[in-house]
């Protein structure tokens, strides 16, 4: 099979959120390899390393110290080698203005951090299923918007 494993990166400054995300990921049928980052700067430093294997999808928390999710998103969309990355915003904010702003700035997915583990697992599974199809089928990534 051409696609074996989805490489995933998550940047979130909250340790508990990172742990929950990792646990949810482990319980999903889709095979994944997860890289965790404590803030936006760590993530961007990693993504811009020469010869790094880019993840199929990047999850960004919006509120992070040093470099926040929106700054990362803008850097990714303006970076020649990174601009095609699929970006999911993973945030507690449910303000319509925030959500629209992230989409307009180039996010593909907006996930409201769910408040139960079951809901988190479901949300991640849905995102990854659809991503799998976007990576293996002729679907238009430019129009890929998903809100959960």
């Amino acid at each position: 099979m051409p696609l074996h494993t989805l490489n995933i990166a998550l940047a979130d400054d909250d340790e508990d959120d990172r742990t929950l995300f990792k646990e949810a990921m482990n319980e999903i049928r889709i095979k994944t390899k997860l890289s965790l980052f404590n803030n936006g700067k760590e993530l961007m430093d990693y993504l811009t390393l020469p010869n790094v294997i880019l993840p199929e999808i990047v999850f960004l928390d919006l509120n992070m110290p040093i470099k926040n999710g929106m700054q990362c998103l803008n850097e990714i969309r303006n970076h020649p080698r990174l601009q095609e990355l699929l970006v999911a915003i993973y945030s507690t904010s449910s303000s319509e203005a925030d959500i629209e702003e992230t989409f307009v700035n180039g996010a593909n997915i907006y996930i409201n951090k769910p408040n139960s583990f079951g809901a988190l697992k479901q949300a991640i599974e849905k995102v990854l299923q659809i991503n799998w199809q976007y990576h293996t089928s002729a679907l238009n990534k430019d129009n890929f918007l998903l809100r959960i």
Partner: protein, 190 residues
């Protein structure tokens, strides 16, 4: 004489990528390496090139897979696309009949191969593909939503809107608004 040991740490992804690049460059074809063990060429390799590639990569224990199941999954996807694009077919056939007659396998077999390989069902893929098509039609802006619903064989415009919302989390108009704003912003930046 004094012995010395050094200790190494490997980045296997990087090594594999470097080996692939080196060998594929030797082949002299244009290629793109996708992160997950998939190489895309700008044309179909000849039999000789395929053999040479197999032997070059074989030296490093890299094997080219000839996976019939993956090929079948691809044929299912192609048939789904064809079926959606063809405005006559959907009215004459039911999709599962169409697919099993076209590919000459039972629908149950096709479904299980598809879910095994892609983690989701053929039905889900059909919806994803229809909504993908609906998105491009919405952005072309030549057709009303009612006309798009008819073209994609939805029973009503509300059925299309509901499926759009369920699949993307957005209404068709919210989707359109976001993409238009994105384009405006890109233009302003230039």
């Amino acid at each position: 004489m004094q012995l010395m040991r050094i200790y190494l740490k490997f980045d296997f992804n990087l090594i594999c990528k470097a080996v692939l690049q080196e060998q594929l460059d030797a082949l002299g074809m244009k290629y793109t390496i996708h992160g997950f063990g998939e190489i895309e060429f700008d044309r179909r390799p000849t039999d000789e090139e395929e053999q040479e590639m197999a032997s070059l990569l074989g030296n490093y224990g890299i094997e080219i897979m000839d996976d019939q199941q993956m090929a079948l999954v691809q044929r299912i996807k192609d048939s789904v696309t064809e079926w959606i694009m063809d405005e006559e077919n959907p009215k004459l056939y039911n999709f599962s009949t169409y697919l099993s007659e076209k590919l000459d396998y039972s629908y149950t077999y096709l479904s299980s191969v598809f879910s095994e390989a892609t983690y989701s069902s053929i039905e889900n893929f059909v919806i994803l593909k229809k909504i993908d098509f609906a998105k491009s039609l919405i952005l072309e802006n030549d057709l009303t939503l009612t006309e798009i619903a008819f073209k994609l064989n939805y029973s009503s415009v509300s059925h299309l809107s509901a499926q759009f919302k369920k699949t993307t989390g957005l209404t068709p108009s919210a989707f359109q608004k976001i993409i238009l704003k994105r384009k405006e912003r890109a233009l302003n930046r230039k």
